[in-house]
Point group: C2
Chain length 185, copies 2
Amino acid sequence: MRVLGVDPGLTRCGVGVVEGVAGRPLTMVGVGVVRTPADADLGHRLVAVEQGIEQWLDEHRPEFVAVERVFSQHNVRTVMGTAQASAVAILCASRRGIPVALHTPSEVKAAVTGSGRADKAQVGAMVTRLLRLAAPPKPADAADALALAICHIWRAPAQNRLQQAVALHASRAPRTPHVPKGRTT
Amino acid sequence: MRVLGVDPGLTRCGVGVVEGVAGRPLTMVGVGVVRTPADADLGHRLVAVEQGIEQWLDEHRPEFVAVERVFSQHNVRTVMGTAQASAVAILCASRRGIPVALHTPSEVKAAVTGSGRADKAQVGAMVTRLLRLAAPPKPADAADALALAICHIWRAPAQNRLQQAVALHASRAPRTPHVPKGRTT
């Protein structure tokens, strides 16, 4: 199973692709960050996030996309940007018919470290160990994206298969989604 | 000047097109609501909002898109959906190179009724009068979308021209945005 994890954000959107199945060693396929300039206007930033996510989908062809579920935080401005970047990631996956799963930060931490209250360093250390990397991926958004992908592979494999079947059916339905140029769902 | 106003929402996304210039009578070109089923998953809802907005942009070719600026509200779940629907509307306009303006609810109310604390009925009544309609547009989201477009036409015409020039320049820059099939920016 190949999963693209997305830690959404307008300034830094973490992306990481992990391949494997629950109970076996996992492999990191790719990791990175989609960045958009903080001084650009919101529209251009969202277009840049879309372009970045599209490139990752094109290059790695994931079967699932796992996105961090956004909650209201203290900083309202940040949470808005996060919600908007996550919308773009979810849209990009859904219009290709790729099933999208949302996982909360504590679900991800619990899956990877055993504790829903683990800090960034603990998550980074476990991701490094589980994927047998030489060093923790930087920045933390990139490590978090890999953790999301790992969490998704480990949670409910049966549920994933069901969701994939539903998404495939929906993508073949007559109502064709808008897809970027030169690409078919 | 032709403006598409968007009152973002996942369940009901109000859309309204108004044509005119500040100081002259305005004309309603179209009004409606893009709806998505509350029981569908988030990805499919966002794809449906994208399809709906694309249809309005295709049909009415607005020069500006005015979207309600989303603030944190009491209901966190609602505000997330609103932020995500607004991201899709902003994305659709921006990748075509159409300038997007965000107006707060109180800016819109103040522009249309003279009071930033006007209620839905007052906004609906003023929209009806300003656009010389037979009855207030229903539902309120549709009236709010028209109010957004009116607000945009009345606020800062000079600023609009500047923003349009910047957006045109950006849309001609080498970094080509992803645009839906069979369409050029």
